[in-house]
Assembly symmetry: C2
Homo-oligomer: 215 residues x 2
């Protein structure tokens, strides 16, 4: 059977092939029926970390998505919980466009349980917050964590677990991770073990969403 | 690795093992990491087909879900697009409860595209309609089709395709099937081919939802 081809967009600029392919490799490991090609946007070595860096990224993500459609991809995944340009790309492309944030929030909606959103930005990404609606019980950022690099230190993991427990204490019966960088450090597994509640991983969610939509 | 155990609830009473296990077999085929046990509710040989048959099914589905939790299942799937008792079970159980309707509607939400809902009941199931919100562009029932048995006849397939085309004409850029019986006859594949737009299959969606939530 021919594999379905997916274009995966990384929103940080890197020449490091291993870093570039991190999320795509996970998606193919989860769903061997996919052949994933990863590319990154130009001139943003620090990725997207505030409103301004998101604003300048949008046309770059859109251009990359359009290029991927022209090359015959079956779907595009924007591998960032902020879903930059996902709405624009969805309107302009004929193939399905999947954003990590929407995929994770939608997956959480399935159970109808109150959700805690755990990210590394002060504000819950707009699309996630809109999709979750009244199911969004609370949100939190691990204390002292400003990037996924911080999460890799022992005190970062401690802060992550503390934030997860804080959210469970605020009534969350499920956690959703609002940062795809958390997928590569196995944050979902750690949080599931320490809090005892289900945790949605955004790279896993975007992979499953692509698989469901492509049929 | 130990397989995760899923209890799958069929909302029609049957002693036919093959019919009973149809959806569970699909779920395990999609995700070999799952061990699915299928059971059906008692005394409803014609399943759920109107408000009254849904009303009497709710306590039965809930009791079966509670029994499955006591037996150590990791999650429960209610394999019916009407999501009977899913809300009640979700509130009362500690393990995740997944309904086919919510799973399919949530999966469609990921792309943000206008959705056409294609089922065999006049009204779009409440949870699906609530989740889709303004993304619900239109809904339709194949003409002359009152059960999945009708869908298996040549004129049933014709009516199915006509309904899909009608929805695409009403602005739907994605179809969601609101009947798990459509999964077993391969309706999604037929509609995808004939309409050229993505089609969400509810059994596929519930399998992916369980896989995402269980992590």
């Amino acid at each position: 059977m021919t594999k379905q081809r997916i274009g995966l967009i990384r929103v940080l600029t890197t020449a490091d092939e291993k870093l570039l392919n991190l999320h795509g490799e996970l998606v193919m490991q989860y769903f061997p029926c996919f052949d994933v090609v990863s590319r990154c946007i130009p001139d943003q070595p620090e990725g997207i970390h505030d409103a301004e860096t998101e604003r300048i990224a949008v046309p770059k993500v859109l251009a990359l998505a359009q290029e991927m459609e022209r090359e015959g991809m079956d779907a595009v995944i924007v591998s960032c919980a902020g879903d930059p340009a996902v709405e624009e790309a969805s309107r302009s492309l004929r193939i399905p466009v999947i954003g990590a944030g929407r995929a994770a929030a939608s997956a959480a909606l399935v159970t109808g349980l109150p959700v805690g959103v755990l990210g590394i930005t002060k504000v819950v990404p707009e699309a996630m917050s809109r999709i979750l609606g009244k199911n969004l019980a609370a949100d939190a950022v691990p204390e002292g964590v400003e990037s996924t690099l911080d999460l890799m230190k022992p005190e970062g993991i401690q802060a992550l677990v503390a934030a997860g427990r804080f959210l469970a204490g605020r009534g969350a019966r499920m956690l959703v991770l609002a940062c795809t960088g958390m997928s590569t450090i196995g944050a979902a597994g750690i949080l599931r073990e320490k809090t005892g509640i289900p945790v949605i991983d955004p790279v896993r969610a975007q992979a499953a969403a692509a698989w469901t939509v492509l049929g």
